[in-house]
Point group: C2
Chain length 474, copies 2
């Protein structure tokens, strides 16, 4: 545990308001939200300005104190949990929560790291724009965390991950210097793109203090459809058809197995299947227009679905007749995680493969996993157009003690699934990052060139190894 006299040094520069030491106030921030990783910390450092962050980092470098940058603490991979031995302090960015500027004219918002995603959503909406990235944790997740984990979500197909939405970054590097790259330049070839390096670095190369973010036009009209298809290959053919006929207006394209739909209908009160026919696979499509020109999204989506029926790609389909129905369709998608949890213990994987290989992967990896681990059932759902699915392997029916099953089988199943992903040329982390959860698997599976590059960059930026120790870099 970091000693009190060390903590006092930080109090001296940040003031009492800037250093949280009450164990009750610290408690919510030392474990991850899913309760899988448990840490300890003598204090949470909570600077209020970029200069205070720089002073904090400089002092930490001088004293050799490891820092764990933290936003909303909503990591899926234990990326923001401090070490269990209390050897680090938490560097919280939550007090830096100003939207420094928001220009609808320039479609740009400059947000400090502690701005909560839903706050940004609201501010953009009030200005007649939107920030086109959202996820379940939007009420807690912060801009700094979203940037540092290159967050994804359901709108990546059209708008990209955070990487595509970040136009500039301000960060404090491990030596305490301020990297001032906030100016939103569309073109900038002044050497290595430091901004890109900090996006997705999980706070291991320094700490993001602010970001310039791209806004999108508000949605003027939308159409949401539920489509039943026979196979994931048909789902991909439907996506390509939609892209050809509807262009960039396809905002969402989510795929799930009929079995997964069954879990939702079984566990989530008030849900019902949007279509009559039982098909093996389902697709949720959203088409958005920024203006009210004719033909509108419903008419255009209808034409695309007509073509899909003609080509025998689609079996059945329903277009939401109104906003309430559209919300009901999306509610099914948004309840998948909860329904899967209610269904019983499972191992969940956030993986990606090249889009063209995804249909085969969804079918073959599930069959192979069920064969290799008798009694388990496997399936996947997610963002087909991004080549990103959430692949689940559920414990055999009647498994009472989930944690015991995971303890016994987890490592073998992890290895099995990740090997399949690597064989398909994919990534063992599509959108959740590496954190501490996937570090060993990254070490096992990454090519020597990639591992050497990761380590060399880490050492170059953070020779003392003080930034988010134990995360990401194997």
């Amino acid at each position: 545990m970091i000693a009190q006299h060390i903590v006092d040094r930080f109090v001296a520069i940040l003031g009492p308001k800037g250093v949280i030491t009450d164990p009750d106030d610290i408690a919510p921030w030392v474990d991850d939200w899913r309760g899988r990783y448990h840490g300890r910390a003598a204090a949470i450092l909570s600077p209020a300005t970029t200069q205070e962050v720089a002073d904090t980092v400089k002092l930490a470098a001088e004293l050799g104190v490891p820092l764990v940058p933290q936003g909303g603490n909503t990591s899926m991979v234990g990326g923001a949990t401090p070490p269990a031995d209390g050897s680090a302090l938490i560097l919280s960015l939550r007090r830096m929560n100003r939207i420094r500027a928001l220009s609808p004219h320039d479609n740009l918002a400059i947000c400090e790291a502690g701005v909560i995603l839903s706050v940004l959503h609201e501010a953009a909406e009030n200005a007649g724009r939107r920030f086109p990235l959202s996820l379940g944790a939007k009420g807690s997740a912060t801009v700094g965390g979203l940037v540092s984990t290159n967050a994804g979500g359901t709108q990546v197909l059209r708008h990209g991950t955070m990487r595509a939405l970040v136009e500039g970054i301000e960060a404090v590097l491990p030596d305490g210097s301020v990297f001032d790259g906030l100016d939103a330049l569309k073109k900038d070839n002044r050497g290595y793109d430091i901004k890109q390096l900090l996006i997705g670095a999980e706070g291991t190369l320094g700490v993001v203090t602010a970001a310039s973010l791209r806004l999108a036009p508000a949605i003027a009209a939308r159409a949401v459809a539920w489509v039943g298809v026979q196979t994931p290959a048909d789902a991909l053919a439907l996506l390509r058809l939609c892209e050809t006929m509807l262009g960039d207006s396809v905002e969402g394209f989510e795929v799930l197995a009929d079995e997964t739909l069954g879990f939702v209908l079984g566990h989530i009160p008030g849900t019902r299947s949007p279509i009559e026919t039982r098909t093996p696979w389902h697709v949720l499509i959203e088409v958005d227009h920024a203006d009210l020109s004719e033909p509108g999204p419903s008419e255009r989506l209808e034409s695309a679905l007509a073509a899909a029926f003609e080509q025998e790609i689609a079996v059945d389909a329903a277009i939401a007749a109104n906003e309430a129905q559209a919300e009901a369709f999306w509610r099914i998608r948004e309840s998948l995680s909860e329904a899967e949890r209610a269904q019983g213990p499972a191992l969940q994987y956030d993986v990606s493969v090249p889009v063209a290989k995804m249909p085969a992967f969804m079918v073959e990896a599930a069959v192979a996993a069920e064969r290799a681990f008798p009694g388990t059932t496997a399936s996947s759902f997610g963002h087909l157009g991004d080549g990103n699915v959430h692949f689940h392997v559920r414990a055999p029916k009647g498994t009472g003690d989930g944690p015991a099953w995971i303890a016994a089988q987890g490592q073998a199943i992890n290895a099995f699934v990740h090997d399949a992903v690597v064989a398909a040329g994919g990534s063992i982390s599509a959108e959740h990052g590496i954190g501490q959860m996937k570090r060993a698997e990254l070490a096992r599976l990454a090519s020597p060139a990639r591992l050497a590059a990761l380590r060399a960059i880490k050492t170059a930026f953070d020779p003392q190894g003080l930034f988010n120790p134990g995360k990401l870099v194997p």
Copy 2:
């Protein structure tokens, strides 16, 4: 000069076909195409496969031989010219010129580094697609060079720079290891994005051997308009209006001063102004559709221009009535460099500032430069929507000896223009890179944090400093 017995070691692994030593064959590749930088090299190493590149790099690392990666040798900043003392060998990628795969279904082409841009254009077109990046040097520029310089062009507004079009990279790192990141993954959060680091690294961190590139749908219909406006601010207002009314279909939006148009009309035979009215500024707009749905691009562009007249943003406009007229409009834009050269000696700057600041920059920087350097005339043209203009300062009328004027005034004018760019929060290299031409200015103007990061990354990847010595990193 590298000794013959060293060159022989490379002949031993690449064969005589893989090592060019005839001075006549080497001559075209040791100077830059504009004749500003002159180098020497005992040999051009020309491996034909990724394995041969890896073997070459390993041997160079072992022998401590510096390598200058080279594609089409079309750098604007001396980025591919070897050192004048002959201390390095050229590593040409031109023999690696296979398109390994091209899938119209997946909108993806996997190209080796030596594939020439126009060859890729043609291959994509034959498959019913297009590669949406083009530039003047397309008949020589190679994929490896385009990736390594994060090339731009006139389609960046819609499709982004190379960075946005590269979905995967294969490269040989300075230790001879192969970074195999060719799989096109839309989402991949396995730590630092090495691919992004190699894009725009100008061959200083290793050598790109292949890239997976995103293709776009072919153009089914296009409309090209020439619009006369009063100010750059009106031009930006027109762009915003077009974006609102035409969405992502705005493919080109180029701005130039009436004076610049005058140079074209004066020097380039067969050109004429597309509009009757003389306005202080001009805009060239292209709107493209991938399908033939109604209303087509001409009708939609017409509505947008009608709104622009109503809002008094536009003064006069002409929509090309046919392909020949569209080509004639574009020919004016494509002749700007030639016309500027014919007009007399000038210093040319490739700079960017935030888009919102560009209208003011275009006017104020020109006025300030003319005041600071009496007799000169300054103006800019280029990609307003990207915040990227090519800013020119022309020698006083009657200056006979251009090189002498540049020798006398160049450094002071460089510093003046770059200071103005930095004051506006911009970049001294928008799309051409740093190479050797802008290295000193980068050292003078970059923040300490940026410089330290550049140097740390360079040392981490290339501790011996063997890759493209003397370029980019100050």
